[in-house]
Amino acid sequence: MSTATSTQHGTGHAHPAHEHHHEHHEPGFWQKYIFSTDHKMIGIQYGLTSLLFLFFGFMLMMCMRFQLAYPGKPIPVVGGLLEALLGEAAKGGVISADLYNSFGAMHGTIMVFLAIVPLAFGAFGNYVTPLQIGAPDMAFPRLNMASYHVFFWGGVLMLASFFVPGGAAKSGWTSYSPLATVAEFSRPFNGQTMWLIGMVLLITSSLLGAVNFITTIIQLRARGMTWMRLPFFVWAQFVTGFLLLLAFPPLEAAGILQLVDNLFHTSFFLPTGLVVSGQQLPVSGGGSPLLWQHLFWFLGHPEVYVLILPAMGVVSEIIANNTRKPLWGYKSMVYAAMSIGFLSFIVWAHHMYLTGMGTKVATFFQTTTMMISIPSVIILTALFISLWGGSIRFNTSMLFAVSFLPMFGIGGLTGLPLGFNASDIYLHDSYYVIGHFHYVVAPGTIFALFAGIYFWYPKMTGRYMNEVLGKIHFWGSLVGMNLVFAPMFIQGLRGMSRRMSDGGATYFGADDIALKLNTSITHAAALLAVAQIPFIINVFASIRSGRKVEGDNPWNATTLDWATPTPPPHGNFASEPVVYRGPYEYSAPNAQGGYISQDQKP
C-alpha cells in the first residue's frame, strides 16, 4: 500500500514508470523498501508491522478467551500448533495457567507497545505529519529509519521470547516485582529478561521517534503555518511526542534496574526477607517493590494518553472533513490536549491506590485524576458540537470516526469510578478495569485508526478502499466490540478479578452470571474476528483493484496532505507550499466548491 509500484513487493527491481524528474537515480529494492529514509515509506513499514502485531496480539487473546469459555478443552485449529511450538505449556492443545499468564502479559505488551503506539504514532504520525505541515520529510530522516529498525528488532526479540526455556514473560504487562524476578529465579536468562531487553529497544525507538517528531513540527512547518494553523492531528502528535520523550526514560531506568535484578541477583525491587517456596531468597534485600510500580506507572499513565491522543487527532480530521464544517472550538481543543499532556504526568499513582496509600497522597492523586478528565470532556464535547449544523457524509471512515465518540465516552466515563479511590477499593483489578480501558483502546483507538486507514489509503495508493466491505467491517466490529466489552462491567461489579486463568471458576459457581458471560464474550470475540476478514481482504485487494481516485484530493479536504501529488513523491510537494489560513475552512462563506485549502492564495 505504498506507491503504485509496491504491488511488486519482493520482485526486486521495481522501476516505476511515473515521473521522478528530480531524482538522481532510482534506489534499489533494499534502499527503497527496507532502508528507506523517506518518511512515507517508514510510515508504511510501521503500519504493516504494527497491523501484523495487532493481529498477533488478537490471536493470543483469542486463545485466552477460548480457555476462559471452555476451560480444559483443547483449542480448535491452533491447539496442535501451539503444542508443537511450545511443548509442555500447551500440552494436548490446552493452555496451562503459566501459558495463560504469558499470553496475557504478551497480549498487553504487544497491543500497547508493538501495535497501537507504532500504528498511531509511528505509522500515521510518520506518514501524515510532514505532509500536513508542508515539510519535505522528517527533520532527521536517518534517525527515522533507525527508529523503525530498532522497533522491529525489539518486536522480534519479544516474539522470540516465547521460545526460550520457561516461556515468555508471564508477570503481566506491568511486570510487577518481585514476581517478575522470582518467577524464574533459578534461570536468570528467561522470558522476562528478553521482555526487558525488548522494552529497552522499544523505548529507545520511541525516544528517537519523539525527538524527530517534535523537531520536525517545531522546525519544518511550511511558510505561514503558524501554531494555531496546525491541524489538530499535528497538535495531538506533538503532545504525544512529549509524552513519549519524558515519560519513557524512567521506565527505561526501571527496566535496566529490573534487568540487573534478574541477571545479577541484586535487589532494587526485592525487599529483605523474601521466602519463596519455603526458601529464603539468596539476595541482599533492602529494595522496594513499590519503586518499580512508581517508575512503571510514571510511564504507564502518560502511555495511555499516547494511545488516545493520536486517535483523537485522526478522528478530528475525519469529522471536520466529513461534516464539511470547521472543528468547533479548535483552540480549546489545543489547550485541552496540552493540559492532558501536562496533567498525565502527575496522576500515575491512581493505579496504586491499594498499595497502601495515606489520605494525603491519595487525595492529591485523585484530585489530579479528576482534573485530567475535564480536558478529555472538553475535547469530546468540541467534537460532538462539531457535528451540529454539518452536512454529514457517512462513508466508512466517517462511520468509524463518529463511533469513536460514544465508545471513548463509555471508556472515559467508567474511568471515573476507578479514579475515585473510594470506589476503586471495590473495582480495582476487576474486570471493570478491563472493560474501562478496552473501551478506550479497542473500540476507541482501534476504531480511530481504522478510520484513518480508510481515510488516507487513497493518498497512499491512489485508490479507494471498497465501501461495501468497509461497511461490513464497521458494523461487525461495532457490534462485536460492544458484546465483548460491555459484559465485562457486569463481571467486574460481580467481583470477578482479572488475570484469572480459570476465568474465576475458583470463586463463582458454574451457573453464576459472571461465568456464563465468559462464554458469551468469547463468542462475541469470535464474531469480532470474523468481522476483520473483509478488512484484511480490503487492504490487500484494493491496492490493485480499488476504484481509482479522480484527483489528488478525493475527499475535498483542506489540509496540506491533500495538496500533494498522489501518491506523494520523495520530497512530497511539487513546489514549496505556503499557508494562508486555518486548517478547516470547510463551507466558508466565500469558498468555491465548498472548501478552501490551506495553501490556496487569498
Binding site: 521466602v275 517493590p289 472538553i378 471515573l416 475515585f420 470506589s423
Partner: protein, 261 residues
C-alpha cells in the same frame, strides 16, 4: 441506586462501611449515566438531523451558545462534590480512622495478621493472652509463614490458621487485618466486605472492617502472583461472638507457635 448496582451484579455488602461505599459507587454511576444518556441522545439526533441528504449545505459557524462551557463546569462541580464530599472522607475512614482498643475484651477490635504466599492465605491471632508470639524472618518457612519462634512463651497460645485453613471472625466486632506477604505481591480482597488491600512483601499494611452478617466468605487474590493466582482462594466464616469465643479458646490450645516443627 445501590439496588440497581446489585441488580447489575454487585453482591450485598456484609460490612458496616459497605452501604456507604456502595452508595458512593452508585452516585458516580448516576453522574456517568446522566452524561452518557444526555450526550447519546444529542449525538444520535445530530447524526440523523445533519446527514448529508437532509442538510446538503453545512453551516460554517455551527453552534453559538455557551451551553457546553456550562456543561463542562457542571461536570467539574459534580466531580468536586463527589471528591470532597464522599471519596476523601470514605478513604480517610478506611486508612486513618482505625478503631481503637478501649480495654474491654468484649468490644475491642481484634487484630489479625494476614500473610499471603504462593498460593495460600494464612491468619494469625494473638490468642487469649493478647500477646503476639516472637516472630523472626529466619524462622519463616513454607509451613511457618509467620516466622513464629517455637520457644517463645507468648506464642504458645497464638491462634494460627495457616496455609489456607479457614479462619473465623466474630459478628459485629471491628477487625483490623495487618496484611503482608512473604514472596510476591498478592491482594487481599474481600468482595462482600468491600475490602481490598495489596499484600506487599516487606511491608505490613493495616485494613479494617466490621462484619455485619453471619455467613461464609472468600478471600480473592486480586493481584497476579504466578501460575496459581487464579486458585489462590481463602475462606473464612463470620460467626456469632459466642461461637467465636468457643472456637478461639479451642484453637488456642491446639494452635500456636509450638505446633510448628
Amino acid at each position: 441506586m445501590t439496588q440497581l448496582l446489585q441488580k447489575l451484579g454487585m453482591p450485598a455488602p456484609a460490612a458496616a462501611h459497605g452501604p456507604a461505599l456502595d452508595d458512593f459507587v452508585g452516585y458516580v454511576h448516576v453522574l456517568m449515566l446522566i452524561l452518557f444518556v444526555g450526550w447519546l441522545a444529542y449525538y444520535l439526533l445530530a447524526l440523523y438531523r445533519f446527514r448529508q441528504s437532509a442538510n446538503p449545505k453545512a453551516d460554517y459557524t455551527g453552534v453559538k451558545s455557551h451551553m457546553s462551557t456550562y456543561l463542562e463546569i457542571g461536570v467539574a462541580v459534580v466531580e468536586v462534590v463527589l471528591l470532597v464530599g464522599f471519596a476523601v472522607p470514605l478513604w480517610a475512614r478506611a486508612v486513618d480512622e482505625f478503631p481503637v482498643a478501649k480495654g474491654d475484651p468484649k468490644t475491642d477490635p481484634i487484630e489479625v495478621q494476614i500473610m499471603g504466599q504462593q498460593f495460600k492465605w494464612s491468619a494469625h491471632y494473638a490468642g487469649p493472652d493478647n500477646k503476639w508470639g516472637k516472630q523472626e524472618i529466619k524462622s519463616a518457612s513454607a509451613t511457618n509463614p509467620f516466622g513464629l519462634d517455637a520457644n517463645d512463651a507468648a506464642g504458645k497460645d497464638d491462634v494460627v490458621c495457616a496455609l489456607g485453613e479457614p479462619f473465623k471472625l466474630p459478628l459485629g466486632r471491628a477487625i483490623i487485618c495487618k496484611i503482608s506477604s512473604m514472596d510476591v505481591i498478592h491482594s487481599f480482597k474481600l468482595t462482600a466486605m468491600r475490602v481490598t488491600q495489596d499484600a506487599i512483601p516487606g511491608m505490613t499494611i493495616p485494613a479494617h472492617f466490621t462484619p455485619t452478617k453471619v455467613d461464609k466468605y472468600v478471600i480473592t487474590c486480586a493481584q497476579l502472583c504466578g501460575s496459581g493466582h487464579a486458585v489462590m482462594r481463602g475462606d473464612f466464616e463470620v460467626i456469632s461472638p459466642e461461637d467465636f469465643d468457643k472456637w478461639y479458646a479451642e484453637k488456642a490450645k491446639s494452635g500456636g507457635a509450638g505446633s510448628f516443627e
